[in-house]
Amino acid sequence: MKTKTKNNQNYLEYVSNIMPKTNEFQKIFRAFWVGGFICCIGQALRLLYQSVFSLSGDELAGFVSMTMIFLGALFTGIGIYDRIGKYAGGGSIVPITGFANSVVSPAMEFKSEGFIYGLASKMFVIAGPIIVFGTVASVLVGLGYYIYFMVV
Protein backbone atom coordinates (compact mmCIF):
# COMPACT_ATOMS: atom_id res chain seq x y z
CA MET A 1 0.00 0.00 0.00
CA LYS A 2 2.81 2.32 0.91
CA THR A 3 4.63 1.83 -2.37
CA LYS A 4 1.36 2.43 -4.15
CA THR A 5 0.93 5.80 -2.48
CA LYS A 6 4.52 6.61 -3.33
CA ASN A 7 3.96 5.64 -6.95
CA ASN A 8 0.90 7.85 -7.00
CA GLN A 9 2.96 10.71 -5.59
CA ASN A 10 5.52 10.22 -8.32
CA TYR A 11 2.81 10.16 -10.95
CA LEU A 12 1.11 13.29 -9.65
CA GLU A 13 4.46 15.07 -9.56
CA TYR A 14 5.16 14.00 -13.12
CA VAL A 15 1.73 15.24 -14.22
CA SER A 16 2.17 18.60 -12.58
CA ASN A 17 5.55 18.93 -14.30
CA ILE A 18 4.20 18.44 -17.79
CA MET A 19 0.88 20.16 -17.30
CA PRO A 20 0.42 23.26 -19.43
CA LYS A 21 0.87 26.36 -17.34
CA THR A 22 -1.53 29.25 -17.22
CA ASN A 23 0.00 32.37 -18.68
CA GLU A 24 -0.32 34.32 -15.48
CA PHE A 25 0.99 37.64 -16.70
CA GLN A 26 -1.44 37.67 -19.61
CA LYS A 27 -4.36 36.60 -17.39
CA ILE A 28 -3.62 39.24 -14.79
CA PHE A 29 -3.27 41.93 -17.43
CA ARG A 30 -6.58 41.00 -19.04
CA ALA A 31 -8.35 40.83 -15.68
CA PHE A 32 -6.87 44.20 -14.75
CA TRP A 33 -7.92 46.12 -17.82
CA VAL A 34 -11.39 44.58 -18.22
CA GLY A 35 -12.14 44.81 -14.49
CA GLY A 36 -10.86 48.36 -14.48
CA PHE A 37 -12.93 49.20 -17.53
CA ILE A 38 -16.11 47.88 -15.87
CA CYS A 39 -15.33 50.00 -12.80
CA CYS A 40 -14.80 53.03 -15.05
CA ILE A 41 -18.27 52.52 -16.51
CA GLY A 42 -19.60 52.43 -12.95
CA GLN A 43 -17.75 55.62 -12.08
CA ALA A 44 -18.99 57.31 -15.25
CA LEU A 45 -22.57 56.40 -14.35
CA ARG A 46 -21.97 57.79 -10.90
CA LEU A 47 -20.84 61.11 -12.26
CA LEU A 48 -23.69 61.14 -14.73
CA TYR A 49 -26.38 60.45 -12.13
CA GLN A 50 -24.82 62.98 -9.82
CA SER A 51 -24.87 65.79 -12.34
CA VAL A 52 -28.06 64.94 -14.29
CA PHE A 53 -30.38 63.65 -11.55
CA SER A 54 -28.53 65.38 -8.67
CA LEU A 55 -28.48 62.19 -6.60
CA SER A 56 -26.08 61.71 -3.72
CA GLY A 57 -25.03 59.32 -0.95
CA ASP A 58 -26.75 55.95 -0.65
CA GLU A 59 -29.28 56.78 -3.32
CA LEU A 60 -26.55 57.48 -5.85
CA ALA A 61 -24.67 54.26 -4.95
CA GLY A 62 -27.89 52.28 -5.19
CA PHE A 63 -28.77 53.59 -8.62
CA VAL A 64 -25.28 52.93 -9.97
CA SER A 65 -25.33 49.35 -8.61
CA MET A 66 -28.77 48.76 -10.05
CA THR A 67 -27.68 49.90 -13.48
CA MET A 68 -24.55 47.76 -13.38
CA ILE A 69 -26.54 44.70 -12.26
CA PHE A 70 -29.01 45.31 -15.05
CA LEU A 71 -26.21 45.55 -17.61
CA GLY A 72 -24.60 42.35 -16.27
CA ALA A 73 -27.90 40.51 -16.51
CA LEU A 74 -28.61 41.90 -19.96
CA PHE A 75 -25.22 40.92 -21.36
CA THR A 76 -25.62 37.45 -19.84
CA GLY A 77 -29.04 37.10 -21.44
CA ILE A 78 -27.82 38.00 -24.90
CA GLY A 79 -24.84 35.66 -24.53
CA ILE A 80 -22.00 38.15 -24.39
CA TYR A 81 -20.96 38.05 -20.76
CA ASP A 82 -19.60 34.50 -20.89
CA ARG A 83 -17.36 35.57 -23.76
CA ILE A 84 -16.11 38.54 -21.79
CA GLY A 85 -15.57 36.16 -18.87
CA LYS A 86 -13.60 33.73 -20.99
CA TYR A 87 -11.27 36.53 -21.96
CA ALA A 88 -11.05 38.46 -18.72
CA GLY A 89 -11.36 35.79 -16.00
CA GLY A 90 -11.46 37.42 -12.61
CA GLY A 91 -11.76 40.84 -14.20
CA SER A 92 -15.40 40.23 -15.03
CA ILE A 93 -16.22 37.91 -12.12
CA VAL A 94 -15.31 40.23 -9.25
CA PRO A 95 -17.35 43.37 -10.13
CA ILE A 96 -21.07 43.42 -9.36
CA THR A 97 -21.82 42.60 -13.01
CA GLY A 98 -20.20 39.20 -12.39
CA PHE A 99 -22.55 38.64 -9.50
CA ALA A 100 -25.49 39.36 -11.78
CA ASN A 101 -24.04 36.91 -14.29
CA SER A 102 -23.75 34.18 -11.66
CA VAL A 103 -27.46 34.56 -10.82
CA VAL A 104 -28.81 34.94 -14.33
CA SER A 105 -26.80 32.17 -15.99
CA PRO A 106 -28.14 29.26 -13.85
CA ALA A 107 -31.62 30.79 -14.05
CA MET A 108 -31.42 30.60 -17.84
CA GLU A 109 -29.89 27.16 -17.80
CA PHE A 110 -32.39 25.53 -15.48
CA LYS A 111 -35.48 27.16 -16.93
CA SER A 112 -36.01 23.90 -18.82
CA GLU A 113 -36.92 22.20 -15.51
CA GLY A 114 -39.76 24.66 -14.91
CA PHE A 115 -40.10 27.99 -13.15
CA ILE A 116 -40.28 26.70 -9.57
CA TYR A 117 -38.02 23.64 -9.39
CA GLY A 118 -35.76 24.84 -12.16
CA LEU A 119 -35.33 28.56 -12.53
CA ALA A 120 -36.23 29.72 -9.03
CA SER A 121 -34.59 26.97 -7.03
CA LYS A 122 -31.37 26.81 -9.07
CA MET A 123 -30.99 30.57 -9.41
CA PHE A 124 -28.63 30.88 -6.44
CA VAL A 125 -26.61 27.74 -7.05
CA ILE A 126 -23.49 29.79 -7.68
CA ALA A 127 -24.33 33.06 -5.95
CA GLY A 128 -25.70 31.33 -2.84
CA PRO A 129 -22.34 30.80 -1.13
CA ILE A 130 -21.38 34.41 -1.83
CA ILE A 131 -24.54 35.60 -0.11
CA VAL A 132 -24.13 33.23 2.84
CA PHE A 133 -20.51 34.09 3.51
CA GLY A 134 -21.11 37.74 2.74
CA THR A 135 -23.82 37.84 5.40
CA VAL A 136 -21.72 35.94 7.92
CA ALA A 137 -18.75 38.19 7.30
CA SER A 138 -20.84 41.33 7.69
CA VAL A 139 -22.23 40.07 11.01
CA LEU A 140 -18.74 39.32 12.27
CA VAL A 141 -17.39 42.69 11.18
CA GLY A 142 -20.42 44.40 12.73
CA LEU A 143 -19.85 42.60 16.01
CA GLY A 144 -16.17 43.47 15.99
CA TYR A 145 -17.02 47.08 15.26
CA TYR A 146 -19.56 47.18 18.08
CA ILE A 147 -17.23 45.60 20.62
CA TYR A 148 -14.37 47.89 19.59
CA PHE A 149 -16.48 50.99 20.20
CA MET A 150 -17.86 49.58 23.47
CA VAL A 151 -14.34 49.09 24.75
CA VAL A 152 -12.69 52.26 23.44
Binding site: Q9, L12, M19, D82, K86, N101, V104, S105, E109, S112
Partner: protein, 333 residues
Protein backbone atom coordinates in the same frame (compact mmCIF):
# COMPACT_ATOMS: atom_id res chain seq x y z
CA UNK B 1 -4.61 -16.90 -16.85
CA UNK B 2 -5.00 -13.82 -18.98
CA UNK B 3 -8.74 -13.95 -18.79
CA UNK B 4 -9.13 -10.22 -19.26
CA UNK B 5 -8.61 -10.79 -22.98
CA UNK B 6 -11.33 -12.52 -24.95
CA UNK B 7 -10.97 -13.89 -28.47
CA UNK B 8 -13.82 -14.07 -30.91
CA UNK B 9 -13.50 -17.07 -33.19
CA UNK B 10 -16.64 -16.12 -35.11
CA UNK B 11 -15.19 -12.66 -35.68
CA UNK B 12 -18.26 -10.40 -35.52
CA UNK B 13 -18.29 -7.87 -38.34
CA UNK B 14 -19.01 -4.19 -38.17
CA UNK B 15 -21.40 -4.00 -41.10
CA UNK B 16 -22.75 -0.47 -40.83
CA UNK B 17 -22.05 2.73 -38.97
CA UNK B 18 -23.80 6.02 -38.51
CA UNK B 19 -22.63 9.28 -36.98
CA UNK B 20 -24.01 12.70 -36.25
CA UNK B 21 -22.31 15.75 -34.77
CA UNK B 22 -22.75 19.44 -34.07
CA UNK B 23 -21.59 22.54 -35.88
CA UNK B 24 -18.33 22.83 -33.96
CA UNK B 25 -17.31 19.34 -35.04
CA UNK B 26 -18.27 20.28 -38.58
CA UNK B 27 -15.38 22.70 -38.75
CA UNK B 28 -12.97 20.07 -37.45
CA UNK B 29 -10.43 18.16 -39.57
CA UNK B 30 -12.40 14.91 -39.94
CA UNK B 31 -15.78 16.44 -40.71
CA UNK B 32 -15.90 15.01 -44.24
CA UNK B 33 -16.15 11.51 -42.76
CA UNK B 34 -19.08 12.28 -40.47
CA UNK B 35 -22.49 11.42 -41.92
CA UNK B 36 -24.67 14.25 -40.67
CA UNK B 37 -24.58 17.49 -38.76
CA UNK B 38 -27.20 19.15 -36.63
CA UNK B 39 -28.03 22.67 -37.72
CA UNK B 40 -28.26 23.87 -34.16
CA UNK B 41 -27.33 22.45 -30.78
CA UNK B 42 -30.95 21.80 -29.86
CA UNK B 43 -31.75 19.66 -32.92
CA UNK B 44 -35.24 21.24 -33.08
CA UNK B 45 -36.02 20.17 -29.53
CA UNK B 46 -36.67 22.47 -26.61
CA UNK B 47 -33.93 21.20 -24.30
CA UNK B 48 -30.36 19.95 -24.79
CA UNK B 49 -31.16 16.65 -23.08
CA UNK B 50 -33.94 15.98 -25.55
CA UNK B 51 -31.53 16.87 -28.35
CA UNK B 52 -28.99 14.33 -27.10
CA UNK B 53 -31.71 11.69 -26.93
CA UNK B 54 -32.86 12.57 -30.43
CA UNK B 55 -29.31 12.30 -31.78
CA UNK B 56 -29.02 8.77 -30.43
CA UNK B 57 -32.44 7.78 -31.65
CA UNK B 58 -31.65 9.24 -35.05
CA UNK B 59 -28.39 7.37 -35.60
CA UNK B 60 -29.87 4.08 -34.38
CA UNK B 61 -32.55 4.45 -37.03
CA UNK B 62 -29.96 5.40 -39.64
CA UNK B 63 -27.67 2.47 -38.99
CA UNK B 64 -30.57 0.03 -39.43
CA UNK B 65 -31.69 1.85 -42.55
CA UNK B 66 -28.20 1.76 -44.09
CA UNK B 67 -28.08 -2.00 -43.85
CA UNK B 68 -31.65 -2.35 -45.11
CA UNK B 69 -32.33 -4.46 -42.09
CA UNK B 70 -35.96 -5.02 -41.04
CA UNK B 71 -36.36 -3.61 -37.53
CA UNK B 72 -37.44 -7.04 -36.28
CA UNK B 73 -34.04 -8.45 -37.20
CA UNK B 74 -32.19 -6.32 -34.68
CA UNK B 75 -31.64 -8.53 -31.66
CA UNK B 76 -30.38 -5.96 -29.22
CA UNK B 77 -29.35 -2.37 -28.73
CA UNK B 78 -26.44 -1.78 -26.39
CA UNK B 79 -26.13 1.88 -25.56
CA UNK B 80 -25.07 4.32 -22.89
CA UNK B 81 -24.28 7.98 -22.38
CA UNK B 82 -22.96 10.39 -19.79
CA UNK B 83 -26.15 11.73 -18.28
CA UNK B 84 -27.45 10.63 -14.89
CA UNK B 85 -29.34 7.34 -15.16
CA UNK B 86 -28.26 7.19 -18.84
CA UNK B 87 -31.52 8.84 -19.83
CA UNK B 88 -30.53 9.70 -23.40
CA UNK B 89 -29.96 6.11 -24.45
CA UNK B 90 -32.85 4.67 -22.51
CA UNK B 91 -35.24 7.29 -23.84
CA UNK B 92 -33.90 6.77 -27.35
CA UNK B 93 -34.50 3.03 -26.94
CA UNK B 94 -38.17 3.56 -26.20
CA UNK B 95 -38.62 4.60 -29.82
CA UNK B 96 -37.65 1.11 -30.91
CA UNK B 97 -39.09 -2.26 -30.16
CA UNK B 98 -35.86 -4.24 -29.83
CA UNK B 99 -34.28 -5.40 -26.56
CA UNK B 100 -32.13 -2.77 -24.90
CA UNK B 101 -29.06 -3.26 -22.77
CA UNK B 102 -28.10 -0.03 -21.04
CA UNK B 103 -24.43 0.28 -20.18
CA UNK B 104 -22.46 2.96 -18.40
CA UNK B 105 -18.74 3.24 -18.69
CA UNK B 106 -18.44 7.01 -19.07
CA UNK B 107 -16.52 7.88 -22.23
CA UNK B 108 -15.41 4.27 -22.79
CA UNK B 109 -18.98 3.20 -23.48
CA UNK B 110 -18.28 2.74 -27.18
CA UNK B 111 -15.69 0.03 -26.74
CA UNK B 112 -17.52 -1.56 -23.83
CA UNK B 113 -20.71 -1.91 -25.84
CA UNK B 114 -18.74 -3.29 -28.77
CA UNK B 115 -17.20 -5.97 -26.54
CA UNK B 116 -20.56 -6.96 -25.06
CA UNK B 117 -22.10 -7.04 -28.52
CA UNK B 118 -19.27 -9.19 -29.86
CA UNK B 119 -19.64 -11.60 -26.95
CA UNK B 120 -23.35 -12.00 -27.66
CA UNK B 121 -22.66 -12.61 -31.34
CA UNK B 122 -19.74 -14.91 -30.73
CA UNK B 123 -21.74 -17.00 -28.32
CA UNK B 124 -24.28 -17.53 -31.07
CA UNK B 125 -27.04 -15.94 -29.07
CA UNK B 126 -27.72 -13.09 -31.44
CA UNK B 127 -27.25 -12.11 -35.06
CA UNK B 128 -27.44 -8.33 -35.23
CA UNK B 129 -26.54 -5.99 -32.41
CA UNK B 130 -26.41 -2.20 -32.44
CA UNK B 131 -23.85 -0.43 -30.25
CA UNK B 132 -24.42 3.27 -29.77
CA UNK B 133 -23.32 6.15 -27.59
CA UNK B 134 -23.20 9.89 -27.66
CA UNK B 135 -22.63 13.03 -25.66
CA UNK B 136 -23.61 16.67 -25.83
CA UNK B 137 -21.46 19.61 -24.78
CA UNK B 138 -24.31 21.54 -23.19
CA UNK B 139 -25.75 18.65 -21.17
CA UNK B 140 -22.34 17.57 -19.92
CA UNK B 141 -21.39 21.13 -18.95
CA UNK B 142 -24.58 21.44 -17.00
CA UNK B 143 -24.19 18.14 -15.19
CA UNK B 144 -20.48 18.25 -14.45
CA UNK B 145 -19.50 21.91 -14.52
CA UNK B 146 -21.16 25.33 -14.69
CA UNK B 147 -24.06 26.92 -16.55
CA UNK B 148 -23.20 27.77 -20.15
CA UNK B 149 -23.59 31.51 -19.80
CA UNK B 150 -21.46 31.81 -16.68
CA UNK B 151 -18.45 33.97 -17.43
CA UNK B 152 -15.80 31.60 -16.15
CA UNK B 153 -12.47 30.65 -17.66
CA UNK B 154 -11.37 27.15 -18.53
CA UNK B 155 -7.97 26.01 -17.32
CA UNK B 156 -5.42 25.05 -20.00
CA UNK B 157 -5.59 21.34 -19.10
CA UNK B 158 -9.32 21.15 -19.81
CA UNK B 159 -11.03 19.46 -22.74
CA UNK B 160 -14.17 20.15 -24.71
CA UNK B 161 -17.06 17.67 -24.63
CA UNK B 162 -17.98 16.55 -28.12
CA UNK B 163 -21.53 17.10 -29.31
CA UNK B 164 -22.17 14.01 -31.33
CA UNK B 165 -23.18 10.40 -31.38
CA UNK B 166 -22.09 7.29 -33.19
CA UNK B 167 -23.57 3.86 -33.69
CA UNK B 168 -22.38 0.67 -35.30
CA UNK B 169 -24.12 -2.51 -36.28
CA UNK B 170 -22.36 -5.77 -35.44
CA UNK B 171 -23.48 -8.80 -37.40
CA UNK B 172 -22.64 -12.46 -37.57
CA UNK B 173 -24.00 -12.84 -41.04
CA UNK B 174 -22.01 -15.23 -43.20
CA UNK B 175 -22.50 -13.16 -46.35
CA UNK B 176 -20.90 -10.11 -44.85
CA UNK B 177 -17.32 -11.17 -45.27
CA UNK B 178 -15.85 -7.97 -46.56
CA UNK B 179 -16.18 -5.88 -43.42
CA UNK B 180 -13.91 -4.99 -40.52
CA UNK B 181 -13.97 -7.75 -37.93
CA UNK B 182 -13.61 -7.67 -34.18
CA UNK B 183 -11.10 -10.38 -33.37
CA UNK B 184 -10.30 -9.88 -29.71
CA UNK B 185 -10.90 -7.53 -26.84
CA UNK B 186 -9.50 -6.74 -23.44
CA UNK B 187 -11.61 -5.61 -20.54
CA UNK B 188 -10.03 -2.79 -18.59
CA UNK B 189 -9.54 -2.51 -14.86
CA UNK B 190 -10.56 0.48 -12.82
CA UNK B 191 -7.39 2.39 -12.10
CA UNK B 192 -6.96 5.47 -10.00
CA UNK B 193 -3.60 7.20 -9.62
CA UNK B 194 -5.02 9.87 -7.39
CA UNK B 195 -5.69 12.71 -9.83
CA UNK B 196 -8.41 14.86 -8.26
CA UNK B 197 -8.59 17.69 -10.81
CA UNK B 198 -11.83 17.05 -12.73
CA UNK B 199 -10.54 19.34 -15.47
CA UNK B 200 -7.52 17.16 -16.04
CA UNK B 201 -9.22 14.10 -17.51
CA UNK B 202 -6.29 13.21 -19.74
CA UNK B 203 -3.92 12.71 -16.81
CA UNK B 204 -6.57 10.82 -14.86
CA UNK B 205 -7.42 8.42 -17.68
CA UNK B 206 -3.95 7.79 -19.11
CA UNK B 207 -2.88 5.17 -16.48
CA UNK B 208 -6.03 3.08 -17.05
CA UNK B 209 -5.50 3.28 -20.79
CA UNK B 210 -1.82 2.38 -20.54
CA UNK B 211 -2.67 -0.59 -18.35
CA UNK B 212 -5.19 -1.96 -20.84
CA UNK B 213 -2.81 -1.45 -23.76
CA UNK B 214 0.00 -3.27 -21.99
CA UNK B 215 -2.33 -6.07 -20.85
CA UNK B 216 -3.65 -6.54 -24.35
CA UNK B 217 -0.20 -6.57 -25.92
CA UNK B 218 1.07 -9.06 -23.35
CA UNK B 219 -1.90 -11.40 -23.59
CA UNK B 220 -1.99 -11.42 -27.37
CA UNK B 221 1.83 -11.52 -27.55
CA UNK B 222 1.91 -8.60 -29.96
CA UNK B 223 3.99 -5.46 -30.27
CA UNK B 224 2.65 -1.96 -30.92
CA UNK B 225 4.14 -2.14 -34.42
CA UNK B 226 1.89 -5.11 -35.23
CA UNK B 227 -0.96 -2.63 -35.35
CA UNK B 228 -1.39 0.06 -37.95
CA UNK B 229 -2.69 2.28 -35.23
CA UNK B 230 -3.42 2.26 -31.54
CA UNK B 231 -6.42 4.56 -31.22
CA UNK B 232 -7.29 5.98 -27.83
CA UNK B 233 -10.60 7.62 -27.02
CA UNK B 234 -10.36 11.04 -25.50
CA UNK B 235 -7.07 11.48 -23.68
CA UNK B 236 -6.38 14.79 -25.36
CA UNK B 237 -2.94 16.20 -26.05
CA UNK B 238 -1.65 15.96 -22.50
CA UNK B 239 -3.13 12.50 -21.85
CA UNK B 240 -1.69 11.17 -25.08
CA UNK B 241 1.75 12.25 -24.07
CA UNK B 242 1.33 10.60 -20.67
CA UNK B 243 0.00 7.32 -22.06
CA UNK B 244 2.94 7.06 -24.44
CA UNK B 245 5.32 7.61 -21.54
CA UNK B 246 3.57 5.05 -19.35
CA UNK B 247 3.50 2.40 -22.05
CA UNK B 248 7.15 3.11 -22.85
CA UNK B 249 7.96 2.56 -19.19
CA UNK B 250 6.58 -0.97 -19.52
CA UNK B 251 8.87 -1.66 -22.44
CA UNK B 252 6.65 -0.91 -25.42
CA UNK B 253 7.17 1.90 -27.87
CA UNK B 254 4.01 3.25 -29.48
CA UNK B 255 5.24 6.72 -30.30
CA UNK B 256 4.96 6.18 -34.02
CA UNK B 257 1.50 4.68 -34.28
CA UNK B 258 -0.63 6.16 -31.55
CA UNK B 259 -3.49 8.55 -32.29
CA UNK B 260 -6.11 10.00 -30.02
CA UNK B 261 -9.69 10.71 -31.14
CA UNK B 262 -9.79 13.78 -28.88
CA UNK B 263 -6.83 15.26 -30.72
CA UNK B 264 -8.38 14.60 -34.11
CA UNK B 265 -11.88 15.96 -33.82
CA UNK B 266 -11.10 19.66 -33.42
CA UNK B 267 -8.60 22.07 -34.88
CA UNK B 268 -7.28 22.54 -31.41
CA UNK B 269 -7.16 26.23 -30.61
CA UNK B 270 -7.42 28.02 -27.32
CA UNK B 271 -11.03 27.16 -26.52
CA UNK B 272 -10.66 23.39 -26.60
CA UNK B 273 -7.17 23.37 -25.09
CA UNK B 274 -6.38 19.63 -24.92
CA UNK B 275 -8.96 18.49 -27.48
CA UNK B 276 -12.30 16.71 -27.43
CA UNK B 277 -13.71 14.46 -24.76
CA UNK B 278 -16.97 12.74 -23.92
CA UNK B 279 -18.56 9.49 -24.97
CA UNK B 280 -19.41 11.00 -28.33
CA UNK B 281 -15.76 11.75 -29.10
CA UNK B 282 -14.55 8.19 -29.64
CA UNK B 283 -17.96 7.14 -30.98
CA UNK B 284 -17.96 9.78 -33.69
CA UNK B 285 -14.30 9.49 -34.68
CA UNK B 286 -14.20 5.70 -34.71
CA UNK B 287 -17.46 5.25 -36.59
CA UNK B 288 -16.59 7.88 -39.16
CA UNK B 289 -12.91 8.26 -39.92
CA UNK B 290 -11.51 4.94 -38.73
CA UNK B 291 -14.37 2.83 -40.03
CA UNK B 292 -14.10 4.35 -43.47
CA UNK B 293 -10.35 3.92 -43.52
CA UNK B 294 -10.79 0.28 -42.52
CA UNK B 295 -13.33 -0.22 -45.27
CA UNK B 296 -10.93 1.33 -47.79
CA UNK B 297 -8.29 -1.10 -46.52
CA UNK B 298 -6.01 1.73 -45.54
CA UNK B 299 -5.65 0.02 -42.18
CA UNK B 300 -5.52 -3.72 -41.60
CA UNK B 301 -5.39 -3.92 -37.86
CA UNK B 302 -6.16 -1.34 -35.23
CA UNK B 303 -6.50 -1.42 -31.50
CA UNK B 304 -9.29 0.85 -30.35
CA UNK B 305 -9.46 1.93 -26.73
CA UNK B 306 -12.15 4.30 -25.58
CA UNK B 307 -11.22 5.79 -22.23
CA UNK B 308 -13.61 6.75 -19.47
CA UNK B 309 -13.42 8.71 -16.24
CA UNK B 310 -15.87 7.22 -13.77
CA UNK B 311 -16.48 10.29 -11.68
CA UNK B 312 -19.65 12.10 -10.73
CA UNK B 313 -20.11 15.68 -9.65
CA UNK B 314 -20.87 14.43 -6.13
CA UNK B 315 -17.69 12.37 -5.88
CA UNK B 316 -15.57 15.32 -7.02
CA UNK B 317 -17.19 17.59 -4.48
CA UNK B 318 -16.43 15.07 -1.76
CA UNK B 319 -12.77 15.27 -2.71
CA UNK B 320 -12.55 11.80 -4.23
CA UNK B 321 -9.94 11.17 -6.89
CA UNK B 322 -10.99 10.03 -10.35
CA UNK B 323 -11.15 6.29 -11.06
CA UNK B 324 -10.80 5.53 -14.75
CA UNK B 325 -11.28 2.67 -17.14
CA UNK B 326 -10.46 1.75 -20.69
CA UNK B 327 -11.60 -1.22 -22.75
CA UNK B 328 -9.69 -2.38 -25.81
CA UNK B 329 -11.14 -3.78 -29.02
CA UNK B 330 -8.91 -5.19 -31.72
CA UNK B 331 -10.27 -4.76 -35.20
CA UNK B 332 -8.88 -6.49 -38.26
CA UNK B 333 -9.70 -5.96 -41.83
Amino acid sequence: MARETVYFDKQPKITAVSTIAGQKEKSGPISEFIDEFMDDDRFNEDTFEKAECKMLSHIIGKVVEKKNLPLGEVDALIAGDLLNQIISSSFAARNYSFPYIGVYSACSTMSESMIIGSLLLNGGHMENVICATGSHFSTAERQYRYPLELGSTRPPQSQWTVTGAGACLLSNNEEDIDYPKIVSATFGKVIDYGVTDANNMGAAMAPACADTIVTHLKNTKTKPTDYNLIVTGDLGVLGSRIVKDLVWEKGYDMNSNHVDCGEMIYNICEEEFQGGSGAGCSAVVFNSFFYKKLLQKRYDRILFLATGALLSSVSSQQGESIPCISHAVEIKR
